[in-house]
Symmetry: C2
Subunit: 210 residues, 2 copies
């Protein structure tokens, strides 16, 4: 399943209680997978460790059944505990080198990068893919730095790792981001905030497969 | 250092930014160790993973120099990353069995228990010691259940593990808790909230060694 990492990263969905209300994270993930998501991430900053484990186990089983990858944000311990494909590490999360050292070799480590310097560092530290952004402003993460499509392209060109575009991604932006080297896109609102999340994912998939 | 777990647990200090203001967690830990603390725990619910790693590495080195044990609350990944003696798992943190499965055999796992049932479960799941309480009301954790000294004694009598009394512990309560089977006490405010935390720890040590 991880041999084709790049193809799994095409459509990367992060369920979100606020953006996807009133649907649960499980319901959102199920719809995303039905619509063709190849990767799902568990990100829930206010959940307890125990709740994250429960959610992680349920999401890991769901993704496994769908042949999709499953990442846990920040919490390497939760990711290892629930049998996730890997962990995604933001710039303020555990360092990539630490995760690489603690996790088994086939465990995937994703990292966030906003600049070519951060991307090179993450690559050298053993990251398997990069989430690069924010490409556009987003209400999901209000405090983040916006680098635009040009910023994305500069980072993607700097390392031999699959780079997924993240932050305020809309369907309309997909063709341009693909031309700029995006292996895929990370979506929250554009997928789970849609009236029909599965259908929204199907439309994103079409644009990504074109 | 861990062969004498019980003696290290006698005086268990948790630095706290609020209770110990304006001192930093490092300053509080240094004072506690100077006053005879045998164990220090890193608990900081709002710090990022990266900040926890930085703090954990600094505290682990400090405790190592002092011959004290060092635990990280909840975050097994941070505990493993910074070379802590172990992890402490509250009732809403990672399950004990999960930590036991992921960590090396000599890594210590502490668990919280309020009832004999929870204590037996934690023991069977592989916990090395129990934090039992809250013995008294405490402003550090306002939502917690108070079990009193009798509740502490009932839990401590139910398992063959060292049990430390936690929650609103004062120096005045120490002799009674020792008679009721406490291997030691976990203190926040009573140690780091004192005008002279090292001196407060020295007085607690005297009561504990009596
Ligand atoms: Ni020792």
């Amino acid at each position: 399943m991880t041999g084709d990492l790049r193809s799994h990263l095409k459509l990367y969905v992060i369920p979100d209680l606020r953006a996807g209300a009133p649907r649960s994270l499980m319901e959102q993930a199920r719809a995303a997978l039905a619509g063709g998501a190849g990767t799902v991430q568990l990100r829930h900053k206010t959940a307890s460790g125990r709740e994250l484990c429960r959610l992680g186990e349920a999401l890991a089983a769901l993704c496994d059944d769908a042949g999709a990858l499953f990442f846990v944000n920040d919490r390497l311990d939760v990711a290892l505990a629930c049998g996730a494909s890997g962990v995604h590490l933001g710039l303020e999360d555990l360092p990539v080198a630490v995760a690489r050292r603690l996790a088994p070799p086939d465990f995937l480590v994703g990292a966030t990068a906003r600049t070519p310097e951060q991307a090179l560092r993450a690559w050298k530290d053993g990251a398997d893919y990069l989430g690069v952004g924010a490409v556009a402003p987003t209400p999901t993460k209000e405090d983040t730095t916006v680098i635009g499509p040009e910023g994305f392209a500069a980072v993607a060109a700097s390392v031999p790792l699959p780079c997924v575009a993240v932050g305020g991604i809309t369907a309309a932006a997909v063709p341009d981001l693909r031309r700029r080297g995006a292996a895929g896109v990370v979506v929250v609102r554009e997928a789970v905030g849609a009236p029909d999340p599965a259908e929204a994912c199907r439309r994103l998939r079409e644009l990504l497969d074109a």
